[in-house]
Amino acid sequence: MARYTIEGRTGAWEVVVGLEVHCQVITKSKLFSGASAVFGDSQNCSVSTIDAGYPGMLPVINQYAVEQTVRTGLGINGKINKYSAFDRKNYFYADLPTGYQISQFFHPIVTDGWLEVTRENGEVKKIGIERIHIEQDAGKSIHGQVKGKTFIDLNRAGVTLMEIVTKPEMESPEDAGNFVRKLRAIVRYLGTCDGNMDEGSMRCDVNVSVNRPGDGFGTRVEVKNVNSIRFVKEAVEVEARRQIDAYESGEPVTQETRLFDSDKLETRAMRSKEFAIDYRYFPDPDLVTLVLADDMVARIRDTMPELPDAKKQRFIDEYKLTEYDARQLVSEKEVAEYFETAAKGNDAKKVANWILGDLFALLNSEGKDITESPISAENLGKLVGLIGNNTISGKIAKDVFAIMEKKKKSPEVIVEEQGLKQVSDTGAIEAEIDKVIAANPDKVSEYKGGKDKLLGWFVGQVMAATKGKANPGILNEMLKKKLG
């Protein structure tokens, strides 16, 4: 299929995107100290002398943080390196107490992974992941509370981050967005990161370059701190456009770091290469080589949950869903769980339709996610069950759905209370049909004269008379018979 391009004044340009995604790892304590890594404490209350860089303090690795990273590495099909090591990234900043960040520069714990993303047109794109390394977060500088002062909150200092670095293999804003969405789903499935981009627990730096089809890579520009999937796509788009404009105006594109402004939809220069910080990476002498025990890696491998791709395939095989529906349902672990709960004993395809249609529309309109759904999975399943066993019609079900949302009651109770039970009693339906036929002899003769479309009109009349409760299957069949 044709590659995505952006049309400039002088022709088409290809876009190349690489991502660096920082994920805050879910752990109880920090990466190198026993201080709490759980948020919500008042400022500087989850800080140990190690996090605060006090003299003589030494880091000790949090084994669980390592396990979480290994879990993530397995989730992205990566190579888990038995030996990895920690390095210091040196720079001065007030919220970096030791004057260096402990990271993995030379020997990361995970290398050579990949993820597949599916484009809108159904095409599957494999995106390589160069590495995942473990590092510690810095604290937070709080400016502007008191004029001329900056406050430092070290609660976040030393919290574990995984930095996931892709190869420059995404070719469009869509690819970049899809990658982040997929990665976020995986870390959420694994429970290694909550993936909340608006809270900063997942942050993206986006590397963008453009080139003429057939040419090599253009100059790479790094766009920092892009904090939603929409912004990732927008940042790629506007930065690529900016570069194309520059090239087409005969201006150079320089290797630099830029900031994305989501209000103005532009990127702004932050620092150019000549002012780039020399981080003076070197092996951290306070830490020894990290050696992973084989049985630990095996244990993590054995306890891996089912991930989106495998789940999607199972949904297709087991529930006979379409690829598209299955992909939508597995995109969030909670949605998949909701689906499987609702589908238990019910028509899975219908359940999928209800979730992807009515339920998603409802959630979207209320700005809620599935964990906050006013309708439980059990109740949605029961609703589909009521349709399946002909207790209610599909049309009535829509009304019941609306009532379920407001009253938070189970569909059986609603159907019972409101007398919505479908009429499948052929005698009762027949009586209503006879009344309609008797009252409309002209329509009957028109129908008999060949105006087949009138069948729908008769159905409507009988439905109205039964307040929509007549079983549409029985009704149709009987009507046809009666009208001959």
Partner: protein
Amino acid sequence: MTDLVDLTIAEARKALDEGEFTATELAEAHIKEMEKAKHLNAYITETPDLALEMAKKSDERIKNKKAGLLEGIPVGMKDLYCTKGVLTTAASHILDGFVPFYESTVSEKIWNAGGVLMGKTNLDEFAMGSGTITGYYGCTENPWKRTGDNKTVLVPGGSSGGSAAAVSAGLCMCATGTDTGGSIRQPASFCGIVGLKPTYGRCSRYGIIAFASSLDQAGPMARTVEDTALLMEVMAGFDDKDSTSAQLAVPNYRKALGGDLKGKVVGIPKEYRPSGINPDVIKMWDEGIRWLKDAGAEVVEVSLPHTEYALTTYHVIASAECSSNLARYDGIRFGLRKDGKTLDEVYANTRMEGFGNEPRRRILIGTYILGESRYNDYFLKAQKVRRLIVKDFDDAFKKVDFLLTPAAPSTAVSAEEMKNQDPITVFLNDAFVCPASLAGLPAMVVPSAISSDGLPLGLQIIGKPFAEEQVFQVASIIEKAANFTKQPHRVRG
């Protein structure tokens, strides 16, 4: 009764347990001695009140037969160890007013064993130096004088020069040091005492202010080999707060002392005879070799071919590590702060005023070395050479059980002489002690001779990794043969 400050720890412990005198009396005797020896400037902070308080508690425990290994023993603590509630300076102005609210693992072990803190001993700023002359709190004087020259003040060596002078002058019975490239052994040699740099990882570094983390190691300093062994038993051991500490049980080092060396092979590295070496040093070395032969050891010459690169390698690695380790002294959270209009100005003002010349020089060198474009040429190369130096020792230890070398190429010099030496010559003072630091090996200095001008000279025993017991045994044999225990030339203040 002999002067209490002249006793060995072993003698004092016995006397304390037998009630000949109290820990309080022992502390008082040392406090009196400290007052007489103020001019030595061996301590940055003296803690006489705390000492008496601790001694009182020791007396209680002695009375209740609950005495620890160091119960009631006056100890000097190098001012690089963080001590809870006691000013800790690293001899730097940048830690102005810093009183830790935590205790280093090693000092904690010493207090738990009943040690009594006499004070925090002087050092070179951040342990950078070999004369105890670079610190913010002034130079320490060596208690020893050249024969017939009572005027010239000599350096005690460094960086643990305050500890060495205090032990030598009877201002404490033992002291802690730290050794990064000879900082325990060279001052031990200059002050005529015993000092051990243990195997890297043998003592916890937790709570000790870092200079160069891959080299720093805590160690004991005392007047006899037995006392050093006793202190070492208390200091050593695994610590889960230090990732580089070794998970090994601590032996009873005192049991290793004495005996003979039958069946043992001692290696004499031929590279340790550079030109310009003091002939007295060579004489002592030859004598030492004879003592070991007399004890039954076989003597062979070995080669450590990369010795000549050790100092350069050491300085590249130590400077690089310190440039990063000292970044935390930024005026934001503790110690000295000099305000400025911008954050960068706060850093510049604080660090300009807080650091002396020596740390500044090393931070600059280290920062340069670690630069992206220089990393391979300097730091990476130094790491490779370091591995070759380790291999030199590994190869030698296939043939021999331990090595015998002098501790230093000369005796103590004056601060004036040292300051006038070009930095290269100053560095050379560490030439014999530095390789064992790079290789992380246990190395011990024992006073072995008096030079023609009346100053102490020490021999160094270098052992295999974690073979401290072997090193102690050899040291005890040399100590006995040298008959140095009385320190006859010590000049009292």
